[in-house]
Amino acid sequence: MLGTIMSVIKAYMGTGFVTVIFLLCLVYLVFTERDRVKRCVFIYMPLVVIIVFLCPLTYIFYGKVSEDVTYYRLLWLIPVTPVIAYAAVTYLSDIKEGAKKTAVTLALALFVAFAGKLMYTSVHMVKAENVYHMPQAVVDICDAIHVDGREVRAAMPEELMQFVRQYDPCICLAYGRQYLMAVYQEENDFRDAMIARDTYLIGTLGTVREVHYIIVRPGEEFEELPVNYEEYMRIDGFIIYKNTVVSTEV
């Protein structure tokens, strides 16, 4: 049990440098802070949260009322940022104004920065292509298959799936993100047929389920068209197939 809790802490800490800085700040404040209110909020409260977090009973109780994978959220109760910032200011206030103070401030800030990681260097952070903050291909495809006054259903490549209904909820999906997430463990035979590229099954199921459009990645076009589907258009390299039986008319 404690091993699981420690693994949660490890995942939360990342490299662990900021956590070490936080603990050092806590120790520094234990020895230097004399104000009872600040001790109460910046020392005792974080310590109580840490003790409660490490308690296996808390983990068991949390697992009963929520999902184990979100146990790290209890750590949000620790005011890490205010504690570090406050400790830094307290430390610096003992240094006289001047070049030395400026240098130490810069050094501390750099230390904190190097201990952490710049948000904008994250691999998940990309250049925004539009105000919707999604790939422009999604916007173009959705605009192309949108029909005013009714919903249409489409099968999308996995990398576009998450954006479609954020942009246009009139476009329903043959299968959504829940089929990619192990936690749901749901099955979808149409998706299975798409993965197997079984054009007969895709065509048959697509017609029965009223999947008006099938969109596939560039270079992954069907050699043999799915039954009841024809190539409709190509947008940003993606190929859109349209069902010839199920109407999209209002």
Binding site: A11, Y12, G14, T15, V18, R36, V41, M45, V48, V49, V52, V65, S66, Y72, L74, W76, P79, V80, T81, P82, A85, Y86, V89, L92, T105, A109, V112, A113, A115, G116, K117, M119, Y120, S122, H124, M125, K127, A128, E129, Y132, H133, M134, E151, R153, Q162, F163, R165, Q166, Y167, D168, P169, C170, I171, C172, L173, A174, Y175, G176, Q178, L180
Partner: protein
């Protein structure tokens, strides 16, 4: 149309909270500059708005109201509360307001200016950089579906099929707040969620930290500036793991849990600090602080089903530490009691799921 929409969004996100929060700021005092008044009103006002939104929308969802009916109901209640608070501000606190508006702004010092520059960079980057997070396909799509079908949690946001079990999310209808902003402004939900919410959330977090700095360092503006500088560095370099409040703030600010982690919970820490500080200095606490504890619990519950539980846990931790420090029972008890009502939402969830 787009410009009108942007102006409406700015009014709801900036002007409305400030107007709502003025009376609370003036009632609590602790205002040292015009910027203090602005920051405090901005934060208190938004907490009031969130706290009103939560019970009204949960009620509307449980009653199977259409989204537009829920929005109209909330709008009506909001208008009444806004008018009441404005009347209170200009009748009960008029002198205080005039006096506060005559206060000079503090000199933030070089580090305060550096913090402002970093804040500016974060705001600009929130427009220029996109963070693709899979959870948006639920939360943002739920908001979009709310507008599109004028219903709430009737369709599975992932696919658009009929929803099987909505209970996991409907007691924390933060997506409906995004839908509400979109409905009023006429801007598409995706644009509101990804472009209009992030900068506002960053401002909330900075405002919370700024008012906290006022309580910590009083009139020492240089220390306040220095505090804000370190806060801004820690936020900007907070991507050491994907679970930190800083990561949630800059990457997933349109999700309720981001608001909970980076805005609501730090604000709760600030409230607890304010209560203990006032007790230490004056031996009695302004009841408005306890009302704010109650409202913040509701705001936390809006953000996430777990939000109410976390707000209560934090308040109980603060109450316990206060009790052990001062050996006085009254205020920790009141603090704990005031945090409890928000538990109604997670309790309802456990009963109905």
């Amino acid at each position: 149309m787009m410009i009108t929409g942007i102006l409406i969004t700015i009014c709801i996100e900036l002007l409305l909270p400030v107007l709502m929060g003025l009376a609370v700021s003036l009632a609590l005092g602790e205002i040292r500059s015009k910027l203090d008044l602005l920051a405090q009103s901005f934060v208190y006002g938004q907490i009031i708005i969130f706290a009103l939104f939560q019970p009204i929308f949960v009620f509307a969802i449980l009653k199977d109201y259409r989204f537009s009916k829920g929005a109209a109901l909330f709008g009506a209640v909001l208008a009444v509360v806004l008018l009441t608070l404005i009347v209170v501000t200009f009748t009960g606190y008029r002198k205080d307001l005039v006096k506060t508006l005559k206060l000079k702004n503090m000199n933030p010092g070089i580090w305060g200016i550096a913090a402002l520059v970093i804040l500016g960079i974060m705001i600009v980057m929130s427009f220029l950089k996109a963070y693709y997070d899979g959870d948006d396909s639920y939360y943002v799509a739920a908001a979009a579906e709310g507008i599109n079908s004028d219903s709430m949690y009737k369709k599975e946001p992932y696919t658009g099929d009929a929803i099987l079990s909505p209970y996991r999310y409907l007691f924390a209808p933060f997506p409906m707040w995004i839908a509400f902003l979109s409905k009023l402004s006429g801007i598409k939900v995706a644009a509101v969620a990804h472009t209009m919410i992030p900068w506002c959330m960053i401002l909330f977090v900075f405002a919370v930290m700024y008012i906290m700095s006022g309580y910590l360092f009083k009139d020492d503006s240089k220390k306040r500036g220095l505090f804000m500088f370190f806060v801004s560095v820690l936020i900007m370099f907070g991507d050491y793991s994907i679970h930190t409040p800083e990561n949630f703030l800059l990457a997933r600010s349109r999700q309720g849990k981001a608001a909970l982690a980076s805005f609501i919970l730090p604000f709760m820490v600030f409230l607890i600090y304010g209560i203990i500080r006032e007790f230490e200095d004056r031996k009695k606490v302004n009841p408005v602080r306890f009302v704010l504890i109650l409202l913040t619990g509701f705001a936390g519950a809006l953000c996430s089903t777990l939000g109410g539980v976390l707000c209560v846990s934090l308040t109980l931790t603060g109450a316990l530490c206060m009790l052990l420090t001062y050996r006085k029972f009254k205020y920790p008890f009141v603090m704990a009691i005031c945090s409890m009502p928000c538990l109604i939402f997670p309790v309802l969830y456990f009963v109905m799921r």
